[in-house]
């Protein structure tokens, strides 16, 4: 059948020169490279015809970095230079050779679906599994913070709805990187929103979408750095539960294509690449996506009903690339014929290709066996959800699109999905030696001043202003919550959240732990250690509340600068390598991930890349929900232990930043030391030998101990001389070092003997006692005694964001 051009345009490509091909890509916001354009040209030369606009747009969407991860799966020529040696290596698929490889080698039987579906899935109990996914929505959030973050959370919820045959969302997480809220307005680049406006918009966007969907937002973190002023990072995550027999999906030829949910408009067309300059008062605002949680909630309710009646064979969500990606994904192995005239529209006047690639929100695409045609429409209608059949899956492995009876696209699925040429990129990483800082000599009052400044620091301080806007209780299953305190007047930062899904899984005792790790400050010095530290921090956080490291899985989210630059891609490779190394050494698999590269912004003529950020999110299964812990001290006269070795590791620490200390070694990760400790903590919690447990990270042990004390409203006395250290360290260095692998735990005197014998063979020491009216850190040897009332420390911790 010949293509007709009543409803589309023919794009002349056959006779274009290299320069003209590149211009075509640029002028139509296709973001395709010359090599890719030439591959397309060759394909159509073989067909002896020009492509239509909708065909070119489909290829551009399918081959986009967002959908195909061309950088992480492409060829990379990598050179690593350290003072000791040079390593030259070629990666043919970085993802498969690092993160994915670790998962394959670990061969965990409880990993049910990894790196293939919309989310990673692991085993929960004999009948159910749990799925977790974290996405980023950075660029839209920079331009329209409220809509950008709302559609970020809306999108990741749909990933959970679109995993397998659909999981029921149980909890959301969110992690943000912002510029500092107190940035002087003059420092904000022209045309950008002030960080304060971005923060307000992003937080309310996540709040409104999550709360209205009836999904609790239970875990997250916020990181402030000037480097994110013009390019904030917005990570949104959702965890859901799915019956094990609903994980497999397979489209069959003859199944009908059903689109359900929101209507299609010009929302988000070329969303990632448009420029605000092009928009004026009269122009249609096509690039901005606005979310409608009420529609998505109805889709959720209706589709789970249809799922349980086995009315469809496959489902996926409309995300980036819209119908083009979603339908393409479901029909990749069959073929599909679509009639775009049938797609319900918000308003008239959309061109065919716009309908096809629109990123309008709240839409899901299903493969429905013809016999269920009426039944499924009836179910959606009952929930007031618009659902329309727009085509049929075929067996010719072709994508055929028609509009009003005219055929406007006819392409091979194999070319669309496998035709993208592999790009070769070069990467370089120069590893510098790190040196210990000059010994830090501080007297007691200087140490106290530093402690308060650390607690006040934007990256340590209380995020209560944000957390309290979120509903973290809806569904009634949040057992361990984000803010923890022994009474209503005190609070401290919980390490991780625990969800007890007793309303979905009747009679269960099991629970799900969610946590995260992130530290871009380390990444400015050493990307490898940043990744290693983020992995361990996420795991440690989960362990603190009762997580079992034998049953924890990880997600990676890379947000990097412009990876066309060799040294930026080089740091990404180092981080990916750390993911492999530590996934293997902790025996904890990655199950899914996402990357957002090219986070670059300009001020004037100069271009800046963001500080690289690797967010590690952890999800684990807890066998018995009763055996979970919060972080505040529980009572007076209990013994305080520090587990793990304190090293002189102040590189990238909060203490170094506030005191402008040069040099310093970035904390490393020592799985041989920390893994046995984490295993034993799990055993200790299950034998009720520990009263409270808190991870030592930002701000070191001084901050961790202070948080446990003020959230309990009681004092504590710590003997600095008893902390197990490596080498020589001054009291300030011991208190503020951010060495990984450490925990503060509280033990009742009656359990001390059992506790000590359990931890035999690991590095630990008793360092103090709870009780008294002050938080005290003392070193008799160095004549140091730091004393402060816990309430005053809490007010330092609480006031920073309250004042903004």
């Amino acid at each position: 059948m010949k293509l007709k051009t009543t409803h589309c345009k023919e794009i002349d490509i056959l006779n274009l020169s290299d320069k003209e091909l590149l211009d075509l890509s640029k002028n139509n916001v296709l973001s395709l490279s010359l090599e890719e354009m030439k591959t397309i040209q060759d394909y159509y030369k073989n067909l002896k015809r020009n492509p239509t606009d909708i065909e070119i747009e489909t290829i551009a969407q399918t081959w986009s970095e967002h959908c195909k991860h061309k950088t992480l799966t492409g060829i990379i020529d990598y050179l690593e230079i350290s003072p000791q040696k040079k390593i030259h290596k070629q990666y043919n698929n970085l993802l498969k050779e690092t993160i994915f490889k670790a998962t394959m080698e670990l061969k965990k039987k409880w990993c049910l679906s990894v790196f293939e579906d919309n989310a990673g899935i692991i085993d929960f109990d004999d009948k159910n599994a749990i799925a977790f996914k974290v996405e980023t929505h950075n660029h839209p959030s920079a331009l329209e913070p409220y809509g950008g973050s709302a559609t970020g959370i809306g999108g990741v919820i749909r990933d959970i709805l679109g995993v397998g045959l659909g999981a029921k969302p149980l909890a959301n997480t969110d992690v943000f990187c912002f510029g500092k809220p107190n940035t002087p307005p003059k420092k904000v680049p022209n045309g950008m929103h002030h960080p304060k406006r971005i923060i307000g918009g992003v937080v309310s966007g996540v709040r409104d979408y999550g709360n209205r969907m009836g999904i609790p937002t239970v875990n997250g973190s916020v990181y402030f750095d000037d480097g994110y002023m013009a390019n904030p990072l917005v990570f949104c995550g959702t965890m859901g539960i799915i019956p094990k027999n609903k994980i497999a999906k397979k489209t069959r030829a003859g199944d009908l294509v059903l689109v359900a949910g929101g209507r299609t408009g010009r929302d988000g067309i070329h969303g990632a690449t448009f420029s605000s300059v092009e928009l004026n008062k009269e122009s249609d605002v096509s690039a901005v996506q606005i979310g409608n949680p009420i529609v998505e909630k109805k889709v959720l309710d209706a589709m789970l009903k249809a799922r349980d009646l086995n009315l469809y064979r496959a489902v996926t969500d409309c995300g980036a690339g819209g119908l083009s990606s979603a339908v393409g994904e479901l029909g990749e192995n069959t073929g599909v014929e679509i009639d775009l005239k049938k797609v319900p529209l918000k308003y008239d006047g959309l061109r065919a290709w716009e309908i096809w690639i629109s990123e309008a929100q709240e839409r899901m695409v299903f493969a429905v066996p013809p016999k269920n045609k009426e039944k499924i429409i009836e179910i959606f209608a009952k929930e007031n959800v618009e659902a329309v059949f727009i085509g049929v899956f075929t067996k010719d492995k072709k994508l055929k699109i028609s509009y009003d009876g005219d055929l406007i696209a006819d392409m091979d699925m194999s070319f669309l999905h496998k035709g993208v040429p592999k790009i070769t990129r070069r990467a370089i990483c120069e590893i510098k030696n790190e040196f210990e800082q000059k010994t830090i000599k501080m007297n007691s009052s200087e140490i106290l001043k530093s402690l308060k400044k650390v607690l006040e620091d934007l990256n340590v301080c209380s995020k209560e202003w944000i957390i309290r806007q979120y509903d973290h209780e809806v569904q009634g299953q949040t057992i361990i919550k984000p803010l923890q305190g022994n009474n209503i007047e005190v609070s401290g930062p919980g390490d991780a959240a625990v969800i007890f899904p007793y309303t979905v899984v009747k009679g269960t005792k099991k629970a799900i732990v969610l946590s995260n790790g992130l530290n871009p400050e380390y990444g400015k010095i050493n990307a490898y250690k940043m990744a290693a530290s983020a992995i361990e921090e996420a795991i440690r956080n989960a362990v603190c509340v009762g997580g079992n490291i034998e049953k924890i899985s990880l997600l990676d989210n890379f947000c990097w600068g412009n990876t066309d630059k060799e040294e930026i891609l080089g740091s990404l490779i180092r981080a990916a390598k750390a993911c492999y190394d530590f996934s293997k050494s902790f025996s904890i698999p990655f199950i899914s991930g996402k990357d957002s590269l090219h986070n670059e912004y300009s001020i004037g003529q100069k271009k800046y890349s963001i500080p690289p950020a690797l967010l590690i999110s952890a999800m684990g299964v807890i066998e018995n929900v009763s055996n979970t812990l919060t972080m505040p001290f529980k009572k007076e006269k209990n013994k305080v232990f520090i587990l793990g070795l304190t090293r002189n590791e102040l590189g990238g620490s909060v203490f170094s930043k506030i005191n402008s200390i040069k040099d310093g070694v970035v904390p490393n990760v020592y799985p041989k030391e920390s893994k046995p400790i984490m295993k034993k903590i799990y055993q200790a919690i299950n034998k009720s030998l520990i009263e409270s447990c808190h991870d030592i990270s930002d701000g070191g042990l001084a901050a961790a101990v202070s948080e446990m004390a003020f959230s309990a409203g009681i004092g504590v006395k710590i003997d600095i001389d008893k902390v197990k250290i490596k080498g020589k360290m001054s009291p300030a260095e011991i208190l503020f070092s951010q060495s990984n692998g450490r925990f503060v735990v509280e033990v009742d005197a009656k359990n001390e003997k059992k506790f000590r014998s359990l931890f035999k063979g690991t590095v630990f020491s008793q360092v103090g006692l709870t009780g008294g009216k002050d938080v005290v850190f003392e070193s008799v040897k160095n004549k140091i005694k730091v004393m402060e009332n816990p309430k005053k420390l809490m007010s330092s911790w609480q006031k920073t964001l309250q004042d903004i």
């Binding site: 329209e144 406006r197 408009g265 928009l279 009269e282 249609d284 605002v285 901005v288 996506q289 606005i290």
Partner: protein
């Protein structure tokens, strides 16, 4: 066309107005003494005056804390002449989810006519404020010009 403006009654707290006052002051404009926030709705379609009243009273306001005024096409509603005012509306093509809900709710009220709804926001700023400052506040605080347009009224200057 009906334009409906919702006001918080005098003895009730206008939390959004207070929030914006706080933000304006922290932007450095200490000449603003008070901010009053009023949601706006435009309803186009073949409805009667009475139906517009029903929609405003039964759907758009909370009768205990809020009041409304309705303006018909070409009719000038006496505005609050106190200083500046900024009206913010979505640009064409931007999904207006609140308007969609209103459209559906109007049907649920039993008014089964084809209507089109737009939602907007009006901020009254009490004090003597220049047009330039109003425009700056509109762009930095009240409207995201990527998706929203704004219009400024300035009664303070007229009075001078």
């Amino acid at each position: 066309m009906y334009k409906i403006e919702i006001k918080t009654k005098e003895n009730f707290r206008d939390a959004r107005g207070e929030y914006y006052l706080y933000e304006i002051i922290s932007m450095g404009f200490d000449n603003v003494k008070k901010v009053k926030y009023c949601p706006l709705y435009i309803i186009k379609g073949d409805i009667s005056d009475g139906e517009a009243e029903i929609i405003a009273r039964q759907l758009l306001i909370d009768e205990i804390t809020e009041d409304y005024s309705i303006k018909k096409e070409n009719e000038i509603l006496s505005p609050i002449k106190v200083g500046g005012a900024i009206e913010v509306w979505y640009k064409k093509g931007v999904t207006d989810t609140v308007a969609q809900s209103v459209q559906k709710a109007v049907k649920d009220l039993g008014i089964d006519k084809k209507i089109e709804v737009n939602t907007g926001h009006k901020y009254y700023l009490f004090g003597d404020i220049s047009d330039e400052d109003l425009a700056l506040m509109a762009e930095k605080l009240f409207a995201n010009t990527l998706i929203q347009g704004y219009e400024i009224e300035n009664h303070a200057l007229q009075r001078n």
